[in-house]
Amino acid sequence: MAIVGGNTFRALALMLACMILSAGQAVLARQPNATSPTLVVTITARYDTHIRQPGNIREFLKLHPNVCLQQWDGIMMPQEGARANLAMAMAANIGPDIFETDIRQAVAQRLACPLTEWIGQDGVLANGKPKLKPDGTPDLNGQIDADEAKWDGWMKIKPLYRQVVTVDGKAYALPNRTGTYVGILYSKRLIRRAGLDPRHPPLTYDEFIRWCRLLYDHKTKTPAVEFGPYSWSFAPWVATTGSSIVIQQRRSPTTGKVYTFNEQDTNLRAPGTGEDLSGAKPLWRCNVASPEAVAAVAFYHRLRWAPWIREPATGEPVELTRNDLKHGYILYEARRVAFRPEDVIEGCISVTTRELLDTLARLGRDLAMYPLWAGNMTEFEKMGIEPSDMGMLPFPGRTAAQRPVLQASNSFFMIGKDVLKRGGPTEAERKAYRDIVWQLMARVCSPEGQDEIIRRQVAAGQARFLNPRELRRVGLDDYIKEIPPENMDLWRGVETGKVLEVVEPFMGKWLQFRDFYQREVIDRVLRPSGRDFDYVAALKSLERDANSGIMFERPHSQLDRYRVKARVVAAVVMFVLGVFVALIIRDQRTRVPSLAGVYRGSLPWMMLTPALALIAVWGYYPLTRGLQMAFEDYKVVGHSPFIGLNNFISIALDPNFYHYVFTTFRFVLWNLGLAFFAPIVLAFLLTEVTRFKVFFRTLFFLPQMTSGLVVTLMWKDMFSGTSTGTINRVASALFGHLGFAPIDWLGNPQTVMACVIIPSVWATAGISSLIYLAALKSVPEELYEAAQIDGAGILGRMRRITFPTILPLVLINFVGAFIATFQAMGNIFLLTFGGPGKETMVMGMAIWQEAYVNLRFSLATSYAWILGSILIGFTYLQLRILRRVDFRRAEEN
């Protein structure tokens, strides 16, 4: 079949050229119209522009008809990838105007504009003069004080939030108006029904666990308290131990002693001496493996797993020790109380596995307590939770010595760095644009946006369920006295300091860290296999990881210790790399033909230019730039300093790196074992059969009729871990009688590796077998006949004929497949994104994540170079084989 004749070919080329022109035009048309009067200000999803805008925004937009506030969105990715779209847009200089992410991370990467021009800064008075101490030295305290603030809204922000948004004396963010509290939501009715009093909430761990046990429903054998495996709802528990997830260490300049303070401590006096250490430079560290932070996890473990019984006479719950379990009785108030094994209850909380909304709908029905956020008691009214039934408890202290905790939860909006370049060519225009963005952000964050809602609630007679602070702000103080006493206890507790108000950690990369915290510790304690989970060890390794990259950068002193060793290793690696590159180049050049008939015209060069130019620009330039980047600390904005081997030392010191390498090897081996040999086997089978050959071949070609993306997504859907997932359905139909239970294929470390490989095996077995089929076809029939006469069976024929025929082919393909699989990550990206835990985090995936989620481009390129060094031998082999091989089209049949 002739696909294209000479003329049609030319016509096609012409047509393509026309298409290119039109495509070019389409590209040009895409450029934003500079003359358009509309200023589009974009904002990330924490502020929803798809619902009716609050009054203060409507008012602003009416005043500025040329301004439009639009939702900024990008590609949605799973897990950590959720942060990637913002990060990539920032790296690409097309970020949103107003965005929300980890403040300190954004500042460190210079993604956020300081709000100095509107708010002011530390050390400069509102009138622009420097603020001086009486002795004439600059008066710096790291915070923007009332006399320094240029914006009257600043001092209205609560002090804790002012501390959170200020970095080195400059404000970078504003807290969103819809601030809420994370506390333990409870149903007043259910609590009272269990004979408990919400006015006397549990103040210690022991009291809390007693509540949970008293609420336990013995009839249905289900707990009435549920916990979510989330780090944001776990973080306040660390505060209840009197410690914090992040700590600051300050060295006294006089005594040289190092004192540790909590992250949010403002009283920085050294205990004992009383020396004020607020001037000392703090060292911020992650603290999750400290005895206090471990105690918080241990409490989760206890809630979830500790065995207990209900003492039959009094109904009091009693926790059982291991000995009690062995003996089968306990001593309770000097009485001997025997129990049967079936009386023992394991744990007193259940774990959220369903949608949050499903869980919420149960609050007040069979769910009595649930740690969650809420701004006031009307928060979940629409979900059917009666405001009069809903209450909130602070998290109890570990012992009576610690205060109960409520976690203020908020998002913080920042102005993106790209705003500085927007608005127009002149500075005045850009300033005008910036001001518009600022005013919009101030309004988005202003509590006035809530006014309409509060008024509506007051009109509906719900004033008593609101936070008194809101009522006061709208000027409706008289309603405060109607607030039910248990609600008032909570609000008053926060205001008087009886309840400790904390925020999620704000130093270090908390957003990044909390994913690890969640999936490596909290979730694993709570999940069904968590009883024997060694959380102390997990916390230790997590803390180590956190202080060497995930949350805080590894201190330079630590890197210096390895610098000499690193230089030696680097020199060796570079030497080997260099040798191989030289070998490759030499190898390719060995067969220099005679120079007879050298063409001297310009025509060949014209023909070569496009290819060579493209390879130079998109191959060599990035390669050299990548080499340079590996020795820099690449910053998306501003100068990227040269840091020598630091990236490589950090990687080598990171235990995760070895895990990634190990996982990669595991993936490659599995993949080669399954995906590489499947087509060979298939080709054998297809040559052996005599009937329905075409039919079978067509069957195995079916996956070619759809795209690789669809294949993978389809399999992802089939691997669904619920009982309605396709594979679980088939398996239960086939093996149900053997007691098959649905498997969470992609969430289970035992199955996940095979699962990320199967889709590609399935999809490529057919098409890849073609080449082997073609090779086998070239074997002369006589050989087979001769073998048959010799009485060789299938295996014999395989060994004697088929193997030798395709062996070279297998070798060639093997090297290529090895190199390709080593870098592959597409299916893993789609199926698991490296999860569960870090189970499928191969190098390719780790590089992607470092680069496009964490914006650590330098680290990512260093990873890539390491990957290249591991592979260089194979690459050399591959290129060598390439030169030795002739590519021929297979004979047509």
Partner: protein, 625 residues
């Protein structure tokens, strides 16, 4: 030998099975999607067809829809909770469906159904429930407003695509809530307009004309709320002798029921259906109530955003007023007006229908004989939606089933064609990629083969060496380079970095090498120009290989998403592949996602079918020299 066949057959089944599940999934709906069966059972099972139609009348995502269904179909089994679960229990659902369908032989069915039709025809749109298909919202608004700006202005929102209209705005309002009252704003008006469109069967042409009394718009009956309340009070189940229960309950009801009813009225019954008498005394009471709530006029004005000068300006109306005062009014009625003074208005569809039936059939006896019932109070009469739905199903069985089959596909196509540029982008990208595949590499390969350049070997090395490094080393700086050239979110970002490939050049050079040298010599002697030799002699000879690389270019361009999600984040630049990924990411496992998969596969399928020969002829066998 047998084992080989067995292996191949097992392998073949695993090849086919996922596809069948996917295709079946794409024509399923919430009722049968989770079965993941190979074949769509509804094609031969009438029971399944009925249940699918029922699932579209009562979509699980809508507020309390299965609870409403239970009220219309009193024998709906207790343990039927979600559509997925009902679909799973094939025997039970078949049995139940057969029982319903058996009622089709009831001679009274027609009368009830046509009365329903008559009643619904001009029933107040505000008191309706719409089992709408969210896929119609976008097109509806597009038609109503024309431009996004006008829509944004009217709704005081900011969206950049009609597909992003907040879904929650359209999924039935909380009609069962005690203090719910429509806001009467722009979105409310649009919602009513949308319902009107449904009433006129604008989105469901197959329900037009006689014979289809039950549309997707039905009166907002509240019987289900009462029945649930009563059942709960009676210990989980309403005794047989009380069924069908009265709603609203008359004064002659058993005292037990009456007691529950008063409690129901006080705590749950929607106050907007209540009318009170605005006597002088009560007016003063209301003023006192308002004064008590707002303390002073200033508070009142601040909360209600009014400008009243005196308490007397706030008037008590007999029925719920419009605007912000509505909530105060409802609170007043609830807390200060004794229930015995409440009169249930005709806005309650259950009551309105009872009166409608009485008017039509002149007496309770007339109603009983027309509907084939044995009621002893007209208050027991419910809205005959069940009868109407059965008649509709009987007359429109296949059109409704067909709509269920096509709706997922029409949704996906509508999305692809109207709400993005995915199709245009993909076409342009594929053409661009193919153009480059046809020019850059073949030209270079040809030049290297045809001409003895001084640096031929060096050039080959130059082309091949970049391959020695992992793609990631090149990709990251490549991304940054694209940014510096301002090429992100353009087609160039997708095409240029991969346009030239050393390996392909090397391969092509090999093929050009294999052409007989005499060809060139003969052509040169004939005086043919180099371009002519290239176009007319060499290219046609390597056509099979070029066809393969064209095919490869098509596949990479069409399927490519890894690079695209990095360099083309802007939704306006998404290709079909990225769009499919996003669609899956956002909606999860759903029938429409399966349809999207299939739509995505169609171009690949076509290319594969037409180019099988190309693939087979283009197999390249490496051979050791």
């Amino acid at each position: 030998m047998a084992s080989i066949y067995a292996l191949l057959i097992v392998g073949g089944v695993t090849m086919v099975y996922p596809f069948m599940v996917m295709v079946t999934g794409s024509v399923s709906n919430p009722f049968d999607y989770n079965r993941r069966s190979m074949l769509p059972r509804f094609l031969w099972s009438r029971e399944d067809r009925f249940m699918r139609v029922l699932a579209s009348y009562f979509p699980a995502t809508h507020r309390a829809s299965v609870r409403q269904l239970r009220s219309y179909f009193p024998d709906f089994p207790e343990d039927f909770q979600t559509w997925a679960q009902i679909g799973d229990e094939t025997t039970a659902s078949d049995r139940w469906a057969r029982k319903q369908l058996a009622a089709l032989s009831d001679p009274h069915l027609q009368a009830a159904a046509s009365d329903y039709r008559e009643f619904v025809r001009d029933w107040d749109l505000r008191e309706t429930v719409l089992a709408y298909d969210y896929r119609n919202v976008g097109p509806f608004l597009r038609e109503r407003y024309g431009t996004l700006e006008r829509y944004n202005k009217s709704w005081e929102v900011s969206i950049d695509d009609f597909s992003k209209v907040s879904d929650s705005e359209w999924s039935g309002e909380p009609i069962d809530q005690q203090c719910y009252v429509p806001e009467g704003d722009a979105r409310d008006r649009d919602l009513l307009e949308f319902r009107r469109a449904y009433r006129e069967n604008r989105f469901t042409p197959y329900l037009r004309g006689e014979g289809a009394p039950a549309g997707y718009l039905r009166p907002a009956s509240l019987r289900y709320v009462w029945e649930e309340k009563l059942a709960e009070a009676m210990g989980g189940r309403i005794p047989q002798e009380l069924q069908p229960v009265e709603f609203p309950v008359s004064s002659g009801a058993p005292s037990e029921v009456r007691r529950v009813w008063l409690g129901f009225l006080a705590t749950e019954f929607p106050v907007r259906h209540i009318q009170i008498e605005a006597t002088e005394q009560r007016k003063q009471e209301f003023q006192r109530f308002v004064a008590g709530r707002f303390r002073n006029i200033d508070y009142l004005n601040r909360v209600l955003e009014t400008s009243a000068g005196r308490w007397e300006d706030v008037k008590l109306t007999p029925t719920v007023p419009d605007g912000k005062l509505a909530r105060v009014w409802m609170d007043f009625v609830r807390t200060s007006v004794p229930i015995r003074d409440w009169v249930i208005r005709d806005t309650l569809p259950d009551k309105a229908f009872q009166e409608f039936a009485l008017r039509r059939h002149s007496s309770l006896a007339g109603v009983n004989s027309a509907y084939g019932l044995k009621l002893h109070s007209i208050r027991q009469l419910g809205i005959p939606f069940r009868q109407a739905a059965l008649v509709t199903f009987a007359n429109r069985e296949w059109p409704m089933t067909l709509d269920g089959i096509t709706s997922n596909y029409t949704f996906v196509l509508d999305f692809l064609l109207h709400r993005g540029r995915a199709v245009q982008n993909t076409v342009i990208l594929v053409l661009l990629t193919m153009f480059f595949a046809l020019t850059v590499n073949p030209l270079a390969g040809y030049a290297l083969s045809r001409f003895r350049l001084r640096w031929t070997e060096r050039i080959i090395v130059f082309c091949l060496v970049t391959m020695a490094f992992p793609a990631a080393v090149i990709a990251i700086p490549g991304f940054l380079l694209l940014r510096d050239f301002h090429l992100l979110n353009t087609f160039w970002a997708l095409v240029l970095p991969g346009a030239a490939n050393g390996m392909t050049i090397f391969l092509l050079k090999g093929f050009f090498d294999s052409l007989p040298k005499e060809l060139y010599e003969a052509a040169t002697i004939d005086g043919a120009h180099e371009w002519r030799i290239f176009w007319q002699i060499s290219i046609p000879l390597v056509k099979p290989i070029l066809a393969v690389s064209l095919l490869g270019a098509f596949i990479t361009a069409y399927n490519g998403w890894e690079w695209a999600i990095i360099v083309c984040q802007d939704p306006k630049m998404w290709t079909v592949a990225v769009w499919t990924y996003q669609f899956f990411q956002l909606t999860g496992s759903q029938p429409s996602v399966m349809a999207a998969f299939i739509v995505n596969s169609i171009p690949v399928l076509l290319v594969f079918l037409f180019c099988q020969k190309v693939i087979l002829r283009g197999i390249i066998l490496p051979q050791m020299k």
